[in-house]
Symmetry: C2
Subunit: 337 residues, 2 copies
């Protein structure tokens, strides 16, 4: 077996896996945002016809997977494996969405980095010759997240300026050993970074150092720099976290300036949609990637991007125990058609 | 890239990854059980010197990882990747244990199947030529689990006959591309199975159908049967779930009889230790594998086992919403030295 690793933390499959299809499901607020016309499925009903927001999230993942299989024109039995996870306690959005579908499933927890983590593992599984058609999927829901991590919605608490708006949406991508579409050329696994941020309403600050660490590592491992990408797009730092990342990178002599974008700032119009620092949640980077970004890569409008999923590894328990918020970031380099 | 898959759900790395070292950390009750003298680290303090049970779990994973590196005689910077997860909300046992250690980390959620899931992914990462030294790790804690999934311990609720006792412990295994030790020859990824069990105190019943499904699939994919293994060892079905699995398999004409064991029945003496149906939790299969089983495989006392991690994919929210408990099982075939 020839090595498929490069540097300390990066993998480079000998034959680059292809993202042949992608699908996105979005809620009402997301549909009203700048990417509104790019989503496959949009719903005005925050319950998606279900009895609870948690079941709505399960439903969104099922819709995303069904749409993905339809767009890819593959049958359920030809989907060999699904890597997925979400923010809900015990990841019930993911596991319940796959109940009795007879599709092999490996569950992940990477907080809001899950779209990148699942893509990375799908690329590893396909690039290793283990599977030929693997889905990477995740979701989040504003209402299920708020009541789990913060307050009951009915409480109507005031949101702080650095707070972000959890995206209601699910995204899924199909990673294949052959076919037509954008290709995953390299991935970098992140480390758990903790600079002591304790404010659960300032996750951008908690995740920015992890993003910088992984982006730097990707550049070091691969011998590349910002100039090699059309876009370096983080998952959900929000405007505040993006500003921190820019400032931190400048301090280290790394100029990300013109290339840096953040899905949290792409998916909403922060000002007119009153989302404060921007979007967040697993769904944020998932629906941005699995609509606009992959479509632009597929049309040759983007030549190469570094998709950097960012995750804040907190829990309500760790917050209540006054512990800091560790961050993680996984990066996936994707080249256009 | 040559195919490394066999059948529908199984992977067979061309060069079998080697489990060169393993480490186990156990609580007081576990140390008093039948495997008591096999654990590397034992503690009478359920807090492991920390301020909360959640932090105790974080501490157990750190102890397991430190012990693993010591036993394997490798430095922290030579540990290339850790796959880990746990039962705590948002997997804080795993993520907090790796804070600022600068070790690449991919977080998993497979409920109590996590030891098998992490081993499977470590085998995939090593067998694909991506990494040379990858750790698979997980933990659980009786007290953190009880208060999260069921009742505050002080409530002193009566336990039902089918209930199980969450193991306080952490296990870690080092999977390498070369070296001496038991080898991972094949792995089977499970599907999410749900037969409608809703009793959160009867997880054995919820997981037994998933175990049967994955064991049958492994046999089909690999063209093997019970006769090819010294032991087929499930993660934490407990006595009740093990009886159900035996009964279900007999109905399908599959005789697992003399070969079937369950970590939940190995780790405790069910009767004298008053654990009702047996042990459970991610730590149950983790400390059984990473002490007794791997040692016996390494000494040639076991020639080949099928290690079947079983997970009940419930959450307190899904239980309160009166939803059933989906189960999953991942299998790892390990051959002795």
């Amino acid at each position: 077996m020839a090595t498929q690793r490069k540097g300390k933390q990066s993998i480079v499959p000998e034959i680059s896996p292809v993202i042949t299809s992608w699908a996105s499901v979005a809620g009402k607020k997301e549909a009203q945002g700048p990417l509104g016309n790019r989503f496959d499925i949009k719903s005005d009903d925050s319950y998606f016809g279900q009895k609870s927001w948690e079941q709505a999230e399960r439903c969104m993942q099922q819709l995303a997977l069904k749409t993905l299989m339809k767009k890819a024109d593959i049958k359920q039995e030809d989907l060999e494996l699904v890597f997925s996870g979400d923010l809900l306690n015990q990841c019930i959005g993911s596991s319940f969405s796959l109940r009795n579908l007879n599709i092999p499933h490996l569950g992940l927890y990477g907080a809001c980095s899950t779209m990148a983590e699942s893509l990375l593992l799908a690329a590893m599984a396909v690039g290793g010759g283990y599977f030929d058609a693997v889905a990477a999927m995740t979701s989040s829901h504003f209402a299920s997240s708020e009541r789990q991590y913060r307050f009951p919605l009915g409480y109507g608490g005031q949101r702080t300026p650095t707070s972000q708006w959890t995206v209601t949406g699910a995204g899924a991508a199909l990673v294949c050993s052959s076919g037509h579409g954008p290709r995953i050329t390299a991935c970098t696994v992140g480390t758990v970074t903790d600079l002591g941020i304790k404010d659960a309403n300032n996750m951008g600050a908690a995740m920015a150092p992890a993003a910088l660490s992984t982006i730097r590592q990707h550049f070091d491992d691969m011998g590349v720099g910002p100039e090699d990408f059309d876009l370096i797009v983080t998952g959900d730092l929000g405007q505040h976290g993006k500003d921190i990342l820019l400032s931190l990178s400048q301090q280290e002599g790394l100029s990300l300036g013109g290339k840096l974008a953040d899905c949290g700032c792409l998916v909403f119009d922060n000002l007119s949609q009153d989302v404060h620092s921007g979007g967040s949640g697993c769904g944020c980077s998932a629906i941005t990637l699995c609509s606009d970004l992959l479509t632009r890569l597929n049309k040759g409008k983007l030549k190469k991007i570094l998709f950097c999923g960012t995750g804040a590894l907190l829990s309500p328990t760790s917050t209540q125990q006054n512990l800091p918020i560790p961050g993680v970031c996984h990066a996936v380099a994707i080249t256009g058609v």
